[in-house]
Point group: C2
Chain length 249, copies 2
DNA sequence: TAGTGGTCTAGACCACCCC
DNA sequence: GGGTGGTCTAGACCACTAC
């Protein structure tokens, strides 16, 4: 068996210099240990006999893989690996705590907007209806991790804008409106950090990100929120439990 | 409310030239229409009055976002957007068909290996036990989309290596071994295309990819397979349905 | 063979951090 | 001020495609 190997040699797996460099850099990463510093880019370029551009390309890739972090005026350091977050109907706070991290969340913005037609359809309100837009910066152990923008229909949750603060949004929904989440549709894709993302997350523009879009429904199947989040691709992975259709019933 | 805006101006959202370029390129994309060609990189550089390096950086980002595809000796073309795949215990084939795409799958490799300790633990077999490794290239409408590597315990499925072919693996498991999948744990994260990935997928080395790792169990809760896949980040997004713990019971 | 994208270089200048 | 990362340039050469 195993010899329809799809033309092994022909489309040769060429290894660019920047890719090969990664192995040598990884050795330095191992030597430096967690959080340890690497030599500067100019020193690396000279040491490896390549251009600084090539070194930077290799470093950028290692950063995207979560092996390194770069701090602008300061230096390049060994990264702290990825955190696994479960895709579930629970709060960010609980989730981080279960990983032994200290989660914080700062409200960047809370504003009322008129629903665009698309958003209106998602939230089952008339176009132009009042919608509360919440924008949060999520951090863990002081490091910015994700930016999350939620939209909720104020027609269903009158006065909600005055009740959002540091407490869990889902708790507010339950205690003040008797609403409990039943299910959600969550989409995951890759995206790149915009200048605004990069400024908030201490990232580079164009850094690899994971974009999640969540459409949540209550136990009566009515839409509750529409959330778009970007998570640092070098710090996060997500895990979901899939069940057989027969098991759900 | 809404004025703990986290120092709006200070960490200024600088917009690099390559990022600004994207808007102008996007206009050309809209004009060219689906599949249409863009001018060559040298022409773009001259036209926009920037270096070819900067043009390439912008093009690379647009490619990562699925707006463009580049073909080596040929040119740059308007991309075809992302396909949404549902995270569920179903076959790739069924999933693609439901999107009106014509899925194909070629077996790159089928080999027997001795289970490393980690893999052995995942498959609940003794270390060193025979494991069948299957490597497939998944395509849709002729375009390579994903590389999938599955490992199954041959101790549980004797003779499986002779039964894998073009039929669905899950069908073989059911018809010959009476095994049906019950649930799976699926992890999603970003990664970059290795030289081998790039050669198979017609990609660039370092292109943004989605890595999925699936650990599948049968209806008796015994592990059935361990699968690692890489999907082109510019072509795929995934969607999962989340249910409240109370609903599952 | 001519044109396209893919890789790499050497060097410049800017923005930021730390002393 | 001196060092670090971030951006950009102009140009060279290679690999691949199309003719």
């Amino acid at each position: 068996m195993a010899d329809n190997l799809a033309e092994n040699g022909r489309k040769s797996a060429r290894t660019p210099k920047h890719w090969a460099l990664k192995d040598r850099l990884l050795a330095m990463v191992a030597a430096a240990g967690p959080g340890g510093p690497l030599p500067g880019e100019r020193a690396l370029a000279e040491g490896f006999g390549v251009s600084r551009t090539t070194v930077r390309k290799a470093l950028t890739e290692l950063m995207a893989e979560g092996r390194l972090t770069r701090v602008h005026g300061s230096g390049t350091y060994v990264g702290s690996g990825k955190v696994t977050q479960r895709l579930q109907l629970s709060s960010y706070t609980e989730d981080m705590r279960s990983h032994g991290l200290n989660p914080t969340s700062s409200l960047l913005e809370a504003a009322i907007e008129a629903a665009e037609p698309e958003l209106a359809a998602l939230l089952a309100v008339p176009a132009g209806a009042d919608v509360l837009r919440l924008r949060r910066l999520r951090s863990a152990d002081g490091e910015p991790m994700a930016i999350e923008t939620s939209r909720l229909p104020l027609t269903r949750f009158p006065g909600l804008e005055a009740r959002v603060g540091d407490t869990s949004l889902y708790r507010v929904l339950w205690e003040h409106y008797g609403v409990e989440l039943g299910h959600a549709e969550e989409t995951i894709e890759t995206t790149l950090a915009t200048p605004a993302d990069a400024a908030l997350l201490g990232n580079e523009v164009g850094a690899v990100m994971l974009r999640l879009s969540r459409h949540s429904f209550d136990t009566d199947n009515r839409p509750v929120e529409w959330v778009r989040s970007v998570y640092r691709g070098d710090r996060y992975k997500f895990v979901a439990t899939l069940v057989s259709p027969r098991e759900v019933e």
